[in-house]
């Protein structure tokens, strides 16, 4: 299997950070190399910002609703490709899972949120 085969296999898979936290799906891939050259995966792209290019109008709407943020995770930071994609860093270091982190303080204010 070439690197590209592996990369295409990870498209749309769940991403787990180093600590096993769910922090997004592989929404798109960044591939380098023009015609005649060997294609090379350079990064996975995560976030609603890339949805518009995945599905036309409905993808654009979903992207708009989702806030349009996109995060680039260099391919070097991917350590494992099984049924999930595992990263070598934490979500926080890579800027992933930001929505959950931002919302947490609000949820915490409700009594009993830690149960």
């Amino acid at each position: 299997m070439t690197e590209i085969d592996i990369a295409l296999k990870v498209l749309d898979h769940q991403i787990l950070d180093r600590e096993g936290r769910r922090c997004g799906n592989v929404d798109d891939l960044e591939i380098e190399g023009g015609p005649g050259e060997t294609a090379r995966v350079t990064a996975i792209l995560v976030g609603p910002g890339v949805w518009a290019q995945r599905a036309r109008r409905i993808g654009w709407i979903a992207s708009f609703v989702g806030g349009g943020r996109r995060v680039r995770v260099p391919w070097e930071d991917v350590t494992e490709v099984e049924s999930h994609v595992v990263l070598s860093k934490t979500a926080e270091e890579l800027g992933l899972g930001r929505g959950d982190d931002r919302l947490r303080p609000w949820i915490e204010k409700i009594p009993g949120a830690h149960r």
Partner: protein, 408 residues
């Protein structure tokens, strides 16, 4: 010994948790309209939900993927997004119908105004979800739902014609009014194979960290739980058939359904029926809001889980809170819960192939499943049911229009 006890408790909860408002409405109405003629549809529906639940439970155990993880993986972003939107709409409709059912059964029990009770029900459900561990939620609602067994006693006490009852299990076409008959076939199948059940089941499997060792437990759970749950559906249809057929009564109100237990068993029958209905639709309300939150979180890759604390899955938590509020908004408009139920079941039939096709594909995919991929039996049944589902999905809306939502 304690393990057997645990399994038994789980099964009891599953029986109580099987019936939701869709089953209540369609089974009793089918009995009231066609007597025992539609009995044969019940085993078909029950086997269908067993086949697909077993598959997604196995997928959860082997690949650690819940339904919407697998859907997106397998059919890609744009088709997955379409399936997500359809499922979320149907889920919300189903939740609103269940919530309406909670408010109606509370109203019949205590007599307070309907709209107050809707608000009370939503607050009550939110508090229960917030403070109670999921294990207990399942038990409370599952055991409460067991009160529905009063319908089995009622069915026997109403002395059904056992010969006709038996004949009803032989598939046949209608002698008259075949469009309405077909509408009920679709509705009964839809009520038995409601999609939220598979979302909920598979996500539960991932959360409980099933491994390939749990595959036989998964199979037993699906077969026994849904199989015995189907027994309640039979009792409900018999009650409808013996009590209402020929009297021109169609149970357009949940209270009429409860009468099915009151007539043969008196006040205590009515009370048990109402409590059973309350817990059954209350449990289903929770299952449906969670399913909605699961699907969105899995599609987007967020943290999710009912075994996680609320702070550890913030967007998942927010999603179910928002769904509770949206459902409340829908029911507050005063839309009739039974009518809403019929629409929810029929539309869920239309959305069924969107979830069941990817499940079948993943369960067959060696890359995901290795040696645990579908065997011959699962595949034959899976494909047969897929054909049934496609036919039913394509005919659901036309039948709904032609029969004026089962009114003619």
């Amino acid at each position: 010994m304690s393990k057997i006890f645990g399994v038994a408790l789980g099964i009891l909860a599953a029986i109580g948790g099987f019936v939701d408002i869709g089953d209540l409405v369609f089974n009793v109405s089918a009995g009231a309209t066609f007597g025992y003629q539609l009995m044969w549809v019940l085993p078909i529906g029950v086997v269908g939900i067993i086949v697909y639940s077993e598959m997604c439970g196995r997928i959860a155990a082997v690949s650690k993927k819940a339904v919407f993880d697998a859907v997106r993986d397998r059919v890609g972003f744009s088709a997955g997004l379409g399936a997500l939107i359809a499922s979320e709409v149907v889920n919300l409709m189903t939740f609103a119908a269940e919530l309406g059912g909670v408010a109606i059964s509370l109203q019949l029990l205590c007599g307070l105004p309907y709209r107050w009770l809707i608000a009370l029900a939503v607050v009550g459900l939110a508090v229960v979800i917030w403070v109670t561990s999921f294990e207990w939620i399942e038990r409370i609602f599952g055991y409460g739902g067991l009160c529905l067994l009063v319908f089995a006693v009622a069915a026997v006490k109403l002395t059904p014609d056992w010969g006709k009852f038996g004949n009803g299990f032989i598939p046949h076409v209608a002698q008259n009014n075949s469009l309405l008959y077909a509408y009920f076939v679709v509705g009964l199948l839809g009520a038995a194979m409601t999609p939220y059940e598979v979302y909920f089941y598979s996500s539960g499997g991932v959360e409980e960290e099933w491994t390939p060792k749990d595959i036989s437990l998964n199979r037993a759970n699906a077969i026994i739980g849904y199989g015995l749950g189907g027994f309640l559906s039979v009792a409900l249809m018999v009650t409808g058939a013996t009590l209402f057929l020929g009297h021109g009564i169609s149970p357009a109100h949940l209270g009429t359904i409860a009468l099915g237990a009151q007539v043969p068993l008196g006040e205590i029958g009515l009370l048990l029926a109402l409590i059973g209905i309350l817990f059954a639709v209350g449990g289903a309300s929770i299952d449906t809001v969670f399913s909605g939150a699961y699907n969105l979180a899995q599609f987007c890759g967020w943290e999710w889980g009912r075994y996680r604390t609320n702070v550890n899955a913030p967007r998942f938590t927010l999603t179910w809170i928002v769904l509770l509020a949206l459902g409340m908004g829908i029911v507050m408009t005063g839309v009739d819960a039974v009518v809403l139920t019929e629409y929810a079941v029929i539309f869920s039939v239309v959305a069924l192939p969107l979830t069941y096709i990817p499940i079948l594909l993943v369960a067959n995919d060696e890359a995901y499943m290795g040696r645990h991929r579908n065997g011959r039996l699962a595949n034959v049944l899976g494909v047969v049911y897929l054909v049934v589902i496609m036919v039913v999905a394509l005919s659901a809306i036309p039948l709904m229009i032609l029969t004026n939502v089962g009114q003619n």
